[in-house]
Symmetry: C2
Subunit: 369 residues, 2 copies
């Protein structure tokens, strides 16, 4: 496939790590929250294999934070998500679908409870800050909303625990999944969470002190040599195999959380007040008409830059592929598709046209692995 260069400008913001990753061999970028997100360091398949075996450091500063603080902060945060946060605890991360009044997805961030009246919404690619500001202004909430200078470094892969232990000590390995705590390095405290956009284990370091963060970046590569550390980025193969959904790719504002299989984060039978609650009750009553499912296609490669129709044996459209990649594990193309409900059956046969050739495939449950 022909490649195109990215035209850099201040509008596509650089991160504090950009100059480092460019020296380290980044080859492609995506744009995420108006910021450069590294998308490849050479071969995606090599990077996938390395990620599953060793440890990588990722510049994911594009995962911007929306800080909401003040007397009404809990009320505002709850209003935006269908997940019940009434029993949420300080020091924990919560994966939360954010929806509008029509139950359409706006984002699927991880929300960090920093204090009873202070939250970070660690966002996927949409301007949640504008939604929060609009709601707060309209509702006259007593809150302060801004984007702090936080530039996340992710440390991902099976050896991430060992690498992080060498720098921060045993305590960091004892932190539970989706817990966070503060750790000191080079004169600054860093919020570090046991989280990350892979299923290979690891941490996300919420760098507020850039100078200390850059020292930490260099230290991770210095200490990491014995663990074969490499620079990396969210990996398309790994994230699809693991079914980590990507907002804007797999789902968007036209989809509701039930259609995206996010049922366990939809808390309708609670007292909490959130947007789209009545609409979601309706959806639950009527049932959904389509759903995100996995598909496995008998092909050796695919590039999904827009939805690709899936058809049945009568050549009728039965859904659309939204993400897809060749999986070295399955030795086939795997993908995430929004399928009409009657076809959401494991082993359902599907067909897809890729570059004018028709390939066969079948439906499966998510995740693949």
């Amino acid at each position: 496939m022909k490649t195109y260069s990215i035209a850099k400008s201040r509008r596509l913001r650089s991160t504090p790590y950009t100059s480092r990753i460019e020296k380290q061999g980044v080859t492609a970028y995506s744009v995420y929250n108006h910021m450069l997100l590294p998308a490849a360091f050479g071969s995606s398949e090599d990077s996938y294999k390395h990620l599953k075996e060793h440890v990588q450091v990722w510049d994911v500063a594009g995962e911007r934070q929306v800080e909401i603080s003040g007397k009404d902060s809990a009320k505002l945060v709850q209003l935006m998500t269908c997940r019940d946060l009434s029993k949420s605890k300080i020091g924990r991360c919560y994966y939360c679908p954010i929806i509008d009044d029509k139950a359409g997805l706006i984002n699927d961030p991880v929300i960090l409870k920093l204090g009873e009246e202070r939250w970070w919404i660690s966002i996927a690619d949409s301007d949640v800050i504008l939604f929060a500001k609009g709601l707060a202004i309209g509702k006259k909430f007593d809150v302060n909303i801004f984007e702090p200078n936080v530039d996340i470094l992710a440390v991902q892969g099976p050896k991430s625990l060992k690498l992080m232990e060498k720098i921060f000590g045993k305590k960091i390995t004892e932190m539970k999944f989706f817990g966070f705590d503060y750790f000191e390095f080079a004169g600054a405290k860093h919020l570090i969470a046991r989280s990350g956009w892979s299923k290979q284990g690891g941490y996300e370091i919420y760098v507020e002190n850039t100078k200390s963060g850059l020292s930490l970046y260099d230290k991770l590569f210095e200490i990491g040599k014995e663990f074969e550390v490499k620079p990396g980025c969210p990996n398309l193969i790994e994230r699809i195999e693991s079914a980590l959904l990507s907002y804007g790719n797999d789902m968007d504002n036209d989809d509701n959380p039930f259609e995206c299989g996010l049922d366990k984060y939809v808390h309708l039978d609670t007292e909490v007040n959130f947007l789209g609650k009545e609409k979601l009750k309706e959806v639950r009553k009527k049932g959904i008409t389509r759903k995100l499912m996995g598909v496995i296609i008998e092909a050796k490669g695919i590039n999904v830059s827009k939805s690709i129709n899936l058809i049945n044996e009568k050549n009728s459209k039965i859904g659309e592929l939204r993400s897809g990649v060749y999986s070295p594990h399955f030795k086939k193309v795997i993908g995430i598709a929004m399928l009409d409900k009657p076809y959401c059956k494991v082993s359902q046969k599907i067909k897809i046209s890729i570059n004018d050739d028709v390939f066969e495939g079948k439906v499966c449950d998510l995740p693949f692995i």
Copy 2:
């Protein structure tokens, strides 16, 4: 400068014209409102010269529309902008700063009044739809807000009038600047405005009927041969010479409209109700402390991918360059900078460090030409 490729995905949406511009030689993309925006067809300087002499067709589908309709639509649209729209007319476009309650810029769209209760906000690069939805929900406004399938084609350059006249007749040449009307082509009505993101004259075609729009695209190139039509895109050299401000590049949420020289769109002494009005009155009373100005630098090239500090003769920071480019017209680098007020004087000397070399320059008024 090393180039990096863009990693395509459904999240960076293609436009209906993407496959055409790729056949026609697009070489670089930017991302604008989560959509691919062509950024180069080979040499930017060649494209600049061509744009100033002939006519180009641009895929600017990334200029997405936020449609707001319903009983409270005028109230909501007015709430978001400091420009008085109480006397606005159907069939006209209005350049409007959108600001939040702290008077920070959120976007600088062109707003089209389609009817007394129907508006299109033709946005720069930020999710205005989320701000509008948040406000409408919070204020319980009776409105309908969505992103319609509108994919703008711009026809820009001095020969654009002749080209468009050949297709749509004399009437289209009589339309006034920032006026719009409906014109038929291939069985569909297209909203066409006398507007565009260059100062070379032209039109923007708000394509709703994709099939007809694609026929029109092809027709423009077929008929346009005699006018030496070429595919193009917003041109960095031309837009900086003309001082067409770019949200995210020249200004962002930390800037207010006065700092950006948008005074004539700030209507404080009116009855209309908009966000940030009190804050802007304060700013007006106290006076601004910095302002966007032009700078001319004695250098032969520059790449501005993030703010670059401007310094005075004592090496103190006096501002930051936010956009810049080598201008073939001035045979120097020209740029748009946010400068501390004491230095906002024409001919004020400045210094800037580009790739470790220090260059001299001076301040000037905008636009350059």
